[in-house]
């Protein structure tokens, strides 16, 4: 088949998934809120509602076992064996098990909220499995870098699979957008700590895909991420994943980490465009003497700006307490009650009817809502401080020049996917060496 025809066929086949995703969105079941109406006869037997049996403990052990085994395998494949194929196949298995079989829940990303709420709410306890799912990837990251992201996380796996023609995102955009993950992390912790909402789960872009059902807009979000993921590698992982934000911090101080060349970098530049995630750092040169003074002043300026940023963000976080508190169900109920009583809402909702049926005075509800706003005053301030700190730290980091002589992965951003192995001639040389040795051995045997 000629190259031109191959190119056309490849183009068609690449665009076909787009169409299929659109069709999938249209065809997937959208949940209807209306229940199937029950017959109105008094003597018609209504089947009893059945609840599914609870999950067997064995299944929890299996899931945990798979998690440990998969992370160990991913670490082994990324750091020791350096097998891109192995990592890719493992990610497919993880997608099947942790994604479609477990339907994406419980995952370490969402477990952030479990752990947070368990720490802040005395009436909530996170199960041992959830804590293990949360903690184990952190441990492995401290040891071997973000190997969890490489082949174990189902969200990363699905993005890894659809990254067919990833383009390089300019580094300066990449660094800025990467801060959104920290903002998302802070917001998720705040809302979980106050018992408002689990926004990570609520806005998980791929859970509808894993469960083959969701609301229309969530399916659209899934489709959108997948479509974007065709051309931009791992958009959720790089710019939104709150767990990835934590892993990025831990990975910077990991004991071992995947490297681009197996041993020594020869600065051949072949891996410059290898990483679709912008995680390869190039060697740096010393700045000219004329630029050093400016660099120092710039660094001092950023350091001086840092407390202002933190203070401004803290203030804004405090002032946003009511907006943030609006996500809390008690606040929403109080607002709805007030709108009904002031005539702004013409009809009552099920929630307000249920509240009124409890007999609790409205003033008591308002007082509880008031207390929630008070909580968010503190929480919003802390969130603002966190965001200010993150931005300040990034600006300082961007003002510090680090000396590098080799091409190396950015330990925070690198997800240890192994795509860069193939681009490295040292890697080829090492494999070729192994192959040559085998040939020599065979010849000797003969």
């Amino acid at each position: 088949m000629g190259n031109e025809k191959m190119r056309k066929l490849r183009t068609i086949l690449l665009t076909a998934p787009l169409l299929l995703l659109v069709a999938m969105f249209l065809s997937a079941r959208t949940v209807r809120a209306d229940l199937f109406p029950t017959p109105e006869f008094s003597n018609h037997p209504i089947p009893q509602t059945q609840t599914p049996a609870p999950r067997m403990p064995l299944q929890d052990y299996l899931d945990l076992g798979y998690l440990v085994a998969a992370m160990a395998a991913a670490s082994f494949l990324a750091v020791k064996v350096r097998s891109r194929m192995g990592l890719f196949l493992l990610s497919i298995v993880s997608l099947a098990w942790l994604g479609f079989w477990r339907k994406g829940c419980v995952c370490p990303i969402g477990a952030i909220q479990n752990v947070t709420q368990a720490l802040c709410d005395k009436d909530y306890a996170a199960g041992w499995l959830v804590i293990a799912i949360f903690a184990l990837p952190l441990v492995f990251t401290l040891l071997f870098g973000r190997t969890f992201c490489a082949s174990v996380c189902p969200l990363g796996a699905v993005q890894e699979i659809v990254a067919l023609r990833p383009v390089q995102v300019p580094t300066w955009i990449d660094h800025a957008l990467g801060l959104l993950a920290y903002v998302y992390l802070g917001a998720a912790v705040l809302f979980a700590a106050t018992g408002s909402a689990w926004i990570i789960c609520r806005y998980d872009p791929f859970v509808g895909l894993f469960r083959l059902t969701s609301s229309a807009w969530m399916l659209a979000l899934s489709g959108g991420f997948l479509v974007v993921g065709l051309f931009i590698g791992r958009p959720y992982c790089r710019w939104l994943c709150p767990y990835g934000a934590i892993l990025a911090l831990l990975s910077r101080v990991s004991w071992r980490h995947m490297t681009i060349p197996p041993e020594q970098c020869v600065q051949c530049r072949l891996c410059e465009e290898a990483c679709p995630y912008g995680a390869i750092q190039r060697p740096t040169v010393a700045p000219p003497p004329t630029a050093r003074t400016g660099a120092r002043w710039r660094l001092l300026g950023m350091l001086a700006l840092a407390p202002l940023l933190i203070a401004a963000a803290t203030y804004l976080g405090y002032e946003m307490r009511s907006s943030l508190a609006g996500l809390h169900p008690t606040m929403q109920l109080a607002q709805q009650i007030r709108m009904e009583e002031s005539g702004q809402a013409k009809t009552r909702t099920d929630a307000t009817e249920a509240f009124r049926a409890t007999g609790e005075p409205v003033e008591s509800l308002y007082e509880r809502a008031d207390a929630i706003v008070g909580k968010f005053a503190w929480g919003g301030s802390i969130l603002g401080t966190w965001i200010g700190l993150v931005f300040a730290a990034k600006l300082v980091q961007l003002s510090i020049r680090r000396r590098r002589v080799d091409y190396q992965p950015d330990h925070g951003a690198c997800v240890s996917c192994g795509r860069c192995f193939w681009y490295c001639p040292e890697e080829h040389a090492q494999q070729a060496l192994i192959t040559l040795q085998k040939l020599e051995q065979q010849e000797n045997d003969v």
């Binding site: 199937f36 660094h175 007030r338 020049r401």
Partner: protein, 692 residues
């Protein structure tokens, strides 16, 4: 070797592409089938399904023939078919989604495999000099990070700022709801807490009305600017009428008796407890600029407007003497002359007693010390040249018929010529307005009310079509109009009451022919009931969620459930009492009874729930203009001559306990304090209490 590898890669690549093609075609087919299914499945499929139409028809027929078994079987069969179809579609969709997903995954994996096999090594051009790679992007990165921070900050500001526009309104309204209702609770549910050791507890039938607590508001709701005082005065004649009104005879001079100073009642010296910031469900917490002057304890002790909190006439104290004699001084703690005549009843707040007096030439506000009866100050109320015009009115009404109202910080007064003013407790004028001389045949006699920091000013006049009748809510501290409602009613002489019913703070007004309730916070009309036409003088009263409105002597007493919306004449009038409805005196209601008092001395008792007339008792030519009061279980009925019947009502009848004598005519309603009763006679202000 390398050629073999290349050939192998090419074969694998072709295999991958073919696999991807097959998977893609498979997925397309599945997607098409699902899409077709989607198009033919409407959102409420069961309603559009032909079977459903048939089911509905059959169900309608079944209602006519409920025992038709073949019909029931037919419906069951169709229903079963509909359910089978529904679950079939569900299963089809689930299977299709799974297959589609699998096909897409296979296609993607295969394409990825092919892409991997076809990838080529990069061929970067040799760099002549080492490049400062970081310098090429870090400045842009810093600016982008800074820009992102600005975007986030702007987003946060954008979320915060609009809320401030609604903060005062939201917080105001919510604060009024929260604080008013929460402070109602001690009075209604925990009356004992207001009492200290040795002091009797307040009456358990204290009304559930609010309106005395000052909210921590920064701005009036809606930010409505205060309209300029109405200075245009009409010189229309006030029509006189032979119909008797509340008679407020002019006071005569008397000798003030010296009394030893009594221990001062707890004043408003305690710093106000800062109120909880209101809910503000959709707004940030406003900065409090006003601090409530009344604590809950003081609120329970106050008598801030006509007939006390909620206009109930029920004393919060049961330890008031039930025997006194003005001539001998028995249980008369002090008696102070009132400088100017007037028919307004006393109000008592924070150890201060407020009265008004007026004649053709001047209007004055008086403030007495509740402990000693000493006149602390008297002030001339400012007027305009237009309002100084003599007003035609009946002698029964007078110029100072309207009782004052106070929120504990300011006391406001209104007079027959429309002059309205507010003073602080020290007598400093806070503000004054002239509303214009009302077009009122008998003279303006509707008293002021308070709801938290709002002064409620009823001003009904003229005919309905003139649309001059209004109910205003002014900020009592500044006089600015917070809200105002035009009422389609003619002149009336009733005082609006503030109640808390159906989880709402309501202002209930009575006029002809409409009884209208407004939201106390923003004046929004909540409900209305149509009654008969007439001259409405008795004010409404409430107990629980019910309002009792006598309207007129020729109209029945209406018992209205105050939880409706709109015109509830047909739905919320629980019962009507036809007998002995009063013409002047306002009724008195408890959870159990409703007492009516006519100006001829007929006392009638209705069952508050069912509306049954339990009994009636004629007090034998006992002419009254003052509305009855309840102290513990005793009714106090002041006659025009100054005698007071102490009556003990029960379900079966009325027992006359005794008759006390003030010693001078009295047409006003008493105010109650702990162990004391403040009564305004024709000439003097009396304090009745047990002498040590």
């Amino acid at each position: 070797m390398s050629d073999q590898l290349m050939t192998s890669d090419l074969i694998s690549c072709r295999l991958a592409m073919r696999t991807a093609a097959v998977a893609a075609v498979f997925s397309l087919v599945i997607a098409a089938l699902l899409f077709y299914e989607f198009l033919h499945r409407s959102p409420y499929w069961i309603k559009d399904h032909a079977q459903t139409v048939a089911i509905d028809v059959l169900k309608a027929a079944l209602k006519q023939q409920p025992d038709n078994e073949p019909l029931q079987e037919e419906i069951r069969k169709l229903d079963q078919q509909a359910r089978d179809e529904y679950f079939r579609q569900q299963a089809f969709t689930l299977s299709g989604a799974g297959l589609l997903c699998g096909g897409i995954i296979v296609s993607l994996v295969a394409v990825k495999w092919a892409v991997t096999l076809r990838r080529k090594h990069p061929q970067p051009l040799p760099a002549s000099t080492p490049q400062d790679w970081e310098a090429s992007w870090t400045p842009a990165a810093r600016w982008t990070v800074g820009g992102l921070f600005v975007v986030l900050a702007a987003t946060a500001t954008g979320l915060i700022l609009p809320l401030y526009g609604r903060v005062a309104e939201t917080s105001d309204a919510t604060a009024r709801q929260v604080t008013a209702a929460s402070e109602d609770k001690p009075a209604t549910k925990e009356p004992d807490k207001t009492a200290t050791a040795g002091k009797p507890t307040p009456s358990a039938s204290a009304p559930a009305a609010s309106g005395l607590v000052k909210a921590t508001a920064t701005a009036p709701a809606g930010g409505m600017p205060a309209p300029p005082p109405e200075k245009v005065v009409t010189k229309e004649k006030v029509a006189t009428s032979e119909r008797p009104t509340r008679e407020r005879p002019p006071r005569e001079e008397s000798i003030r008796e010296e009394r030893p100073p009594r221990e001062k009642i707890a004043t408003n010296a305690k710093p106000a407890k800062p109120e909880k910031t209101p809910v503000a469900v959709d707004a940030a917490r406003p900065t409090a600029t006003k601090v409530a002057a009344f604590s809950q304890e003081e609120l329970a002790r106050a008598w801030p407007c006509f007939r006390g909190r909620g206009g109930s006439g029920i004393s919060p104290y049961a330890n008031v003497p039930d025997d006194w004699d003005g001539a001998s001084g028995k249980n008369i703690l002090w008696k102070s002359p009132v400088p100017l005549i007037g028919n307004s009843s006393p109000v008592v707040v924070a150890g201060h007693i407020f009265l008004t007096g007026a004649d053709e030439n001047k209007r004055q506000v008086f403030c007495y010390d509740a402990a000693s009866g000493k006149l602390l100050w008297q002030r001339d109320v400012p007027s305009t040249p237009e309002s100084r015009v003599p007003v035609k009115l009946t002698d029964d009404t007078g110029y100072a018929a309207c009782t004052m109202a106070s929120d504990g910080r300011f006391a406001a007064a209104i007079f027959a010529n429309g002059d309205l003013a507010a003073y602080d407790l020290d007598g400093k004028l806070a503000w004054s307005q002239s509303l214009g001389i009302p077009d009122n045949p008998y003279g303006h006699a509707a008293s002021l009310s308070v709801y938290k920091d709002l002064l409620l000013v009823p001003f009904d006049q003229a005919l309905p079509k003139a649309a001059r009748s209004k109910l205003r809510a002014l900020d009592i501290a500044t006089g600015k109009t917070v809200w105002e409602r035009v009422r389609e009613v003619p002149s009336s002489w009733t005082t609006p009451i503030v109640i808390h019913a159906a989880n709402r703070d309501q202002v209930v007004t009575a006029a002809s022919p409409w009884i209208i309730a407004y939201d106390a916070a923003d004046g929004k009309e909540l409900w209305r009931v149509k009654s008969k036409q007439g001259d409405v003088a008795p004010s409404p009263v409430s107990a629980g969620d019910c309002v009792f409105v006598p309207v007129d002597a020729n109209a029945p007493l209406l018992a209205i459930r105050a939880d409706g919306s709109g015109d509830v004449t047909a739905t919320k009038v629980l019962w009507r009492g036809e007998d002995n409805t009063p013409d002047i005196c306002s009724p008195l209601a408890t959870e159990e009874f409703v007492f009516l008092l006519t100006s001829e001395g007929m006392v009638t008792c209705y069952d508050a729930h069912k509306g049954d007339k339990l009994w009636e008792e004629d007090l034998n030519e006992f002419k009254c203009k003052a509305s009855p009061s309840l102290v513990g279980k005793l009714l106090y009925v002041f006659g025009e001559a100054g005698k007071c019947w102490i009556l003990e009502p029960s379900r079966t009848g009325l027992k006359r306990v005794r008759q006390a004598d003030l010693g001078e005519p009295c047409v006003t309603c008493p105010a109650f304090q702990d162990g004391r009763m403040i009564v305004r006679g024709k000439k003097n202000l009396f304090c009745i209490g047990k002498r040590p």
